[in-house]
């Protein structure tokens, strides 16, 4: 009997081992290819300055892509991230004007958490699909932002402006901005939480099969609300960075960027169907998209072809990924 079972195990299709892991890295290969090409064909790509810029550019969309990845893995969509971003940034400026920069920043993050929680509760309670629920909520949030600002630009009082812009300052680490560091820290935390904690496992379980998760006693509703809340906090941090860079906030902040963030998450290899993916995949996606833009800007090709090349490169990268991962059994 034991002999047979051993045989059965030997039969098992391509046990996910080293080769499977390598095959999972198709998208990384795509990014590495682009990096190599850019390093060779420009003298400016591989300079500290450019790399620092790249990181800085990736910070906001990276935070949003982290949020998007998390929510998508949990089996939902959050189309409201940029609306939350804008509203949180506005709250941060408003509170800064009343109570100072520290309270302002905290209020911004809190606003993100609250809005995210509202998203989660609506999705869980009303049972409307998150796609449409967060779309409707994002319209509401943008509307609130317009009402709060009366449609104008808001900025912190002159004497608080410098402190308010702290996030955009370069730090000692070779000029890397505080925003970049914040971004890296948040990503690291989300990555670890998702990959190493039981909360992370629950998120995957819910995204992979909500009914199975429920039958196993997982509190699906609570986990979902928590995921949306984290998403809201990531969005709010993105908002703080943007507000800090521009020294102001407005209702139209980051309009449309949610699609870039979701695209980054998905390009990286996170499944739109939920239950599969990883934070690093979202980052790879962001890197890919940022790199394509950066490369174009550095190379100085005629931008009239930019979109076509951009689209083709994205398609190429995901195809390569798909090809290497091969047929799913």
């Amino acid at each position: 009997m034991t002999a047979t079972t051993a045989d059965v195990k030997a039969d098992v299709k391509a046990a996910p081992g080293r080769s499977a892991r390598l095959r999972d890295l198709g998208i990384v290969l795509g990014v590495v290819l682009i990096i190599v090409v850019l390093s060779i064909s420009t003298s400016t790509f591989l300079t500290t300055g450019n790399l620092v810029n790249l990181l800085d550019q990736a910070a906001v969309v990276g935070l949003l892509a982290t949020a998007a990845t998390l929510v998508i893995i949990s089996g939902s969509f959050d189309l409201s991230i940029t609306a939350v971003l804008a509203l949180s940034a506005i709250v941060a400026v408003a509170v800064t004007n009343v109570a100072g920069v520290g309270p302002g920043m905290i209020a911004g993050v809190l606003a993100g958490a609250v809005l995210g929680t509202i998203n989660g509760i609506v999705v869980v309670r009303i049972k409307v699909h998150s796609f449409i629920a967060t779309l409707a909520l994002s319209i509401i949030y943008r509307g609130l932002a317009v009402i709060l600002t009366a449609g104008a630009i808001v900025y912190p009082a002159e004497d608080r402006l410098t402190a308010f812009q702290a996030l955009s300052w370069p730090t000692v680490l070779g000029g890397v901005t505080a925003a970049s560091l914040l971004f890296l820290a948040v990503v690291a935390v989300c990555w670890i939480v998702l990959a190493r904690t039981t909360f992370g496992r629950r998120v995957y379980a819910i995204g992979g099969n909500e009914e199975a998760a429920r039958l196993s006693g997982i509190r699906v509703g609570q986990i979902k609300v928590a995921v949306f809340a984290i998403s809201g906090v990531c969005a709010a941090l993105g908002g703080l960075i943007l507000a800090s860079r521009g020294g102001s906030a407005q209702a139209s902040l980051a309009t449309g960027m949610e699609m870039t963030a979701i695209a980054a998450a998905v390009v990286g290899g996170t499944s739109v169907m939920g239950g599969e993916g990883a934070i690093w995949r979202g980052l790879i996606g962001v890197l890919l998209i940022t790199l394509i833009g950066n490369g174009f800007n550095l190379l100085g090709w005629d931008t009239i072809y930019q979109q076509v090349v951009q689209g083709a490169l994205i398609l190429g990268a995901v195809s390569l990924d798909r090809l290497l991962r091969g047929r799913r059994s």
Binding site: R245, G246, G247, G293, L298
Partner: protein, 319 residues
């Protein structure tokens, strides 16, 4: 702040030292390649550059404010340019990147959109940046004044005016709208009966106009972006409504000249592009230039494009 700027400034400085004759390179950060207005600016810049020993490149952010910021940053990094001409999608978010550019020794010209958070001045809000802008509140005020003129031209009292706003979520649009509304309300007998979003497409204008007409069938004057007014025109045909556009496309100018529209706010956008290039190149070549410029000086009648004012004008782009 945020990048290593040292080497860049040395390069720029050494190039400046080569004298005025050296070829200069212009980077143009326009709204989008898929935008006739931005393409008109671009044509002006390119022509002027060619004629004046310079090259030019168009960076296409496709209307995205953050992408534009990245393009400016990257262009600083790439050290390939001496002059930036920036037509900002969002005047506030480009400020840090423009500071970087100025610090790197690049000559920056803000074209059309004011750079910074104030919408009521042509003055530079970032030290070192030369402006050639269309001041939004000034623009709005003139639209309002044109509206009042339209009312007066037919001796309408009361005169019902509808204003098709741009985007409610854009501060710049709102600043313009406020100014227009103020100008309209200041006039006796002029009544602002409707404010709806008309946007910047014919489709949006058409839809808004249909709805406005349902609510206010006897509206006399309609003001909106030239695209929205073009859409609105098909709806109000034959109803004797006076139309006022905001924008100087060939079509808008022709509509005014043909008497189909009462007026349009006219700026010669291609000339503005050329002027921006002229300012930028002059400064980069070490000449003294006026730091603060309004685009309206390039236009007849300060931009208030009535039929008389636009006589002989053609418009510089299609829309």
């Amino acid at each position: 702040p945020g990048s290593e700027t040292g080497p860049a400034s040395t390069t720029a400085a050494s190039q400046a030292a080569q004298g005025d004759d050296a070829q200069k390179r212009i980077a143009f950060f326009g709204f989008a390649r898929a935008n006739a207005f931005a393409v008109a600016t671009w044509n002006g810049i390119e022509e002027y550059a060619k004629a004046n020993n310079a090259t030019a490149e168009f960076f296409d952010p496709n209307f995205d404010a953050q992408t534009q910021v990245q393009q400016i940053q990257d262009a600083v990094t790439s050290k390939r340019f001496d002059v930036f001409i920036v037509q900002a999608n969002d005047g506030a978010s480009v400020v840090p990147a423009l500071r970087q550019a100025v610090a790197a020794g690049i000559t920056v010209v803000a074209e059309f959109t004011p750079v910074g958070t104030a919408y009521d001045t042509a003055d530079s809000q970032v030290p070192g940046v030369v402006t050639l802008v269309d001041v939004p509140t000034d623009n709005g005020k003139k639209l309002g004044e044109l509206g009042v003129e339209a009312c007066r031209s037919k001796n309408l009292d009361p005169c019902k005016v509808a204003y098709l706003e741009g985007m409610k979520s854009l501060p710049l649009d709102n600043a313009r709208t406020e100014a227009a509304v103020k100008a309209l309300e200041a006039a006796d007998g002029v009544e602002l009966v409707s404010r709806v979003e008309g946007g910047y497409t014919r489709e949006g204008g058409r839809k808004a106009m249909q709805d406005v007409l349902q609510a206010q069938p006897d509206v006399n004057v309609v003001i909106g972006s030239s695209q929205a007014i073009a859409g609105a025109e098909s709806v109000v045909k034959g109803k004797g409504v006076l139309l006022i556009g905001n924008g100087g496309s060939r079509q808008a100018v022709k509509a005014v000249q043909d008497g189909r529209w009462f007026a349009t706010y006219y700026l010669p956008e291609k000339s503005a592009g050329a002027k921006a290039a002229e300012l930028g190149l002059a400064k980069a070549r070490g000449q003294q230039v006026e730091e603060s410029n309004s685009e309206t000086v390039l236009a007849p009648n300060d931009g208030k494009g009535t039929k008389e004012a636009l006589a002989g004008v053609a418009g510089e782009y299609d829309e």
